[in-house]
């Protein structure tokens, strides 16, 4: 008898098992969480002032729930964006020529700038309601999640093995069916990995986006971020400690309840057909999988999806060849439209900036950008000197790696800005040089990417290569130069690239910090943007953002990308 995937309907009938109970409590817990978290969203904005964020630790679970909910709302939006934008870019080469570079630029726009420039718009969507402020925060979180997910999905769609596509077409799957049966499953494992990365990265911005200022009014949405902001304002180090503890707990919980099950589930979509290492496991997935109730509701869901799909489905094999003449005309039209839009956008931007700003402003921002760039590079270099040897040491010891790797990934997920107050407290009390000592904040959260990539790299150096090195008596510096460093290089580049991008983004928060009424500041483009944001100076925000965007793009194009291809070509083992 044919069976659907794994154990879904292995136990089809009978009395509720303990797995049913586990599954039920998980579902009920989720519902309660949603209800509690979303309460108050439709309340008027003024209620925020009536019941301000307090530092009572007993309120923290509620705040954490609100923050987490924002995060998942943003994640849902990011998925919608990914499925539409990336699909469009991949399916239509014509649209892709515009959409992909746009995505590249969006990726390098500092995320906190999105908050400043969209606040007014979102608040006007739901005038006087908390909902509007929620939109602002959710959109900011969305911008920190969506781009790399979309990129990953786009890449996957472009690399679906040709014969699979041909098989799908020759068996006359409609484009709709092809998308869900072939392309989405194929893209699933990298997409889930990127979702995890996005979630990790976005905690940073959850914290930064909940308390924001528009003109004269300051909005403090209930959440961990606001809790921290208030704690800083009131110089309450204990409250900061509570927030850190709460964050640790939350990250641990969603890792267990969401991502582990997802990763274990997505393992079936791995394309390599060779049985790999041990497949990932998750107790939650096992519990859900063994529950008959879950199986039954899933079956119902699948039936519904099938009939819904049938309604949308176009005629089988409806793709027909496009005539060349038609294609050429469309190409021309597309080029004209994009050209016109570019001109319009350029003119608008200039007419917005020109009257207020002069060339000296441009020179200032470029100069500040250079300072921030110097800082980022120095920090990456420092972090590499520390973490590459550690990573190699750990990666070559599988037992140790199994312990350290999750910790490194966990550290990357932990929003480093929660630790800022601690550092700033030290700087203020010890009267340290801000230009130097504020800098490490930029890399506090991103250095872990270097560590866990290097661990992965070292772990993938084939045993035989290491044996050869031992056999030939290669050791000391020669061993590092000829074996270890080349072996981990491609992985290191990936990690350093991610760390560099993250550090630029973090500079806006890291170069200006405060502790109560004391404010410390380092010279740099991040501080420039942060100050412009506080002052509500939109011209300088845009100028600063554009400058940073150009810096990031140029560094990616001129440094990281060539380095990445070089590493791929020269050092990738296999």
């Amino acid at each position: 008898m044919p069976q659907s995937p794994t154990a879904w309907n292995a136990a089809s009938r009978g009395a509720p098992s303990r797995f049913d109970l586990i599954a039920l409590s998980l579902v009920i817990g989720l519902l309660a969480f949603l209800a509690a978290g979303s309460r108050g969203v439709l309340a008027p904005l003024t209620t925020l002032d009536v019941s301000p964020v307090t530092l009572d630790p007993s309120m923290l679970p509620k705040y954490v729930a609100r923050s987490t909910l924002r995060m998942f709302a943003a994640l849902v939006l990011s998925l919608l964006f990914t499925f539409t934008y990336a699909t469009w870019a991949a399916k239509s080469p014509r649209a892709g020529r515009v959409l992909v570079p746009v995505l590249d630029v969006l990726q390098s726009v500092p995320i906190l700038v999105f908050i400043s420039v969209t606040t007014v718009f979102f608040l006007s969507l739901a005038p006087g309601k908390v909902l509007g402020a929620e939109f602002v925060a959710i959109f900011a979180i969305f911008t920190s999640q969506a781009w790399n997910m979309a990129f990953s999905f786009y890449q996957s769609l472009r690399t679906v093995p040709n014969e699979l596509t041909e098989a799908a077409r020759s068996f006359r799957l409609s484009p709709w069916a092809r998308f869900w049966r072939l392309e989405v499953p194929f893209a699933m494992p990298p997409l889930i990995w990127n979702m995890m990365m996005s979630m990790s990265g976005s905690w940073f911005f959850v914290v930064a986006s909940e308390a924001f200022t528009v003109g004269s009014t300051t909005v403090t949405l209930p959440g961990v971020g606001s809790y921290i902001a208030v704690a800083i304002e009131q110089k309450n180090l204990a409250a900061v400690g509570w927030a850190i503890a709460a964050m640790l707990a939350v990250i641990l919980i969603y890792d267990q309840l969401l991502f582990r099950p997802l990763v274990a589930w997505a393992d079936r979509f791995r394309f390599e057909q060779e049985p790999g290492a041990l497949p990932p496991h998750s107790w939650v997935l096992d519990a859900l999988g063994r529950s008959t109730w879950v199986a039954r509701s899933l079956r119902a869901l699948r039936r519904f999806a099938r009939s819904a799909g049938a309604a949308i489905r176009t005629a089988p094999g409806a793709i027909r060849f496009e005539s060349r003449e038609h294609a050429r005309r469309l190409d021309l039209a597309g080029t004209l439209v994009v050209g016109a839009l570019l001109l319009l956008a350029g003119w608008r931007a200039l007419s917005f900036l020109m009257p207020e700003l002069g060339w000296h402003d441009v020179v200032t921002t470029v100069g500040l950008g250079a300072i921030t760039m110097l800082r980022v590079f120095l920090l990456i270099a420092l972090a590499s000197v520390v973490w590459v040897p550690v990573g190699v040491y750990v990666g070559l010891r599988p037992k140790l790696a199994r312990i350290v790797q999750p910790i490194a990934q966990f550290m990357a997920a932990f929003p480093a800005n929660l630790l800022f107050p601690v550092v700033v407290f030290c700087i203020v009390t010890l009267k340290l040089n801000t230009d130097v000592w504020l800098s490490p904040l930029m890399i506090l959260g991103t250095q872990w990417y270097i560590l866990f990539n290097v661990i992965a790299g070292a772990a993938s150096i084939p045993g035989e290569m290491r044996h050869v090195a031992t056999n030939l008596g290669v050791r000391g510096w020669l061993w590092w130069r000829r074996v270890a460093l080349p072996g981990v290089f491609p992985y290191f580049v990936t990690g350093a690239l991610t760390a560099s991008g993250g550090s630029w983004n973090a500079s806006i928060v890291a170069e200006v910090a405060s502790w109560g009424d004391e404010k410390v500041e380092a010279a740099g483009l991040g501080a420039y943007i942060a100050n412009a944001t506080t002052a509500g100076d939109f011209h300088r925000i845009v100028l600063g953002a554009v400058t940073m965007c150009i810096y990031v793009l140029l560094i990616n194009r001129l440094l990281w990308r060539p380095l990445y291809y070089y590493a791929e070509r020269k050092y990738r083992l296999s």
């Binding site: 079936r268 791995r270 057909q273 049938a310 094999g317 409806a318």
Partner: protein
Amino acid sequence: MNANLKPSVDTAPLLAVEHARKTFPRGDGGELLVLDDVSLTLKPGEVVGLLGRSGSGKSTLLRLIAGLAQPTGGDVRYLGQPVDGPAEGIAMVFQSFALFPWLTVYENVALGLEALKVPRDEIRRRSLAAIDLIGLDGFESAYPRELSGGMRQRVGFARAIVVHPNILLMDEPFSALDVLTAETLRTDFLDLWADGRMPIKGVILVTHNIEEAVQMCDRILVFATNPGRIVSTIEVTIPRPRDRLAPAFAALVERIYVEMTAKPGRGAPVRVERAPGTGIDQVLPRVSSNLLSGLVETVAAAPFSGKADLPEIASELQLEIDDLFPVAETLQMLRFADVEGGDLRLTADGIAFADAALDERKRTFARHLLAHVPLAAHIRRVLDERTSHAAPKSRFLDELEDHMSPESAEQSLRAIVSWARYAEVFAYDDETGMFSLENPT
């Protein structure tokens, strides 16, 4: 042979390809001709083989028939209707199996029926019947990754048969399998076909394996490369089941080897582009100097003593024609051997090469390389003329791309680099992409 055929369909062809042409746009705006004026018909009850080396356009032709690509000229008609997209009634089996790894065997087989919106209980009935027929009973809930290559390809067959196609297209279906498994699958397939147990009316098989073509086909169309075209049609009248050891079988295999090694210009249409030996516009195969030496040594030694029958040497060395022909042709290009009439005969230089020691071999090879391979001579001349004695790879790549696809240009340059390194006639640094006359430091 097939009892289910209706008499009316019996005479009309299932499929007719007329003067099909396929070009691909080239980087410089020109067009690359991959399939030139190809015609074929498939009648009910027939197995037609498309035999040729890689790059002869046979897979491209199969994709035109499957409706996965559109011909640049000519037309493809299935049951009298032009094919303008994947047609119902034409199913395909792929070289790499192309199974969906996230679907079970059953789900993979059922997929094609789901796309046709067949009622659910019928999907179930037909899928199980196909799985049963193809010998996959008991594997319904397995995932492809749990199966061996042979079992995976059985799923490929079941998936194609379950939609009850009139025409089954097979794109080198056995070439990714080991010899024993491939043989089992072939005989199983032929048994089902002979008994008329598959709901299929005609089969088109793409292959580069001559024995396989002779074993399976009623008619073999032999393809040549550059551009891909049919050079001859061979009717196979040996009664089934066919015995590989029968003299008639061996004779036919031998005859096809002769056809495939025939020198152009004699019987075959004159080549439009890239005749061998005329200039740098020739696409060079990637053949390592080890293989060249190896083949020369084997042919020079007993029992061949300088002259070998290609089918014999292919089975001796366990080489498919896709592996053997490029080596043989490279030897011919270097004037170390002559290939004609299905035989490979070493020239005097070839025999001298076989007898020489390493240094002498390298010198001989260098001489022949510069004398007979225009691209090698061209690169050497450019390097000699420049005062720096160095030139970037891109310079030659651009030049080659005026005559061939970027992939072919890249491949030709890689071939020349590996031969030149062996012959020590010039050096190439992959890091900088520079050709030079310097010895590596």
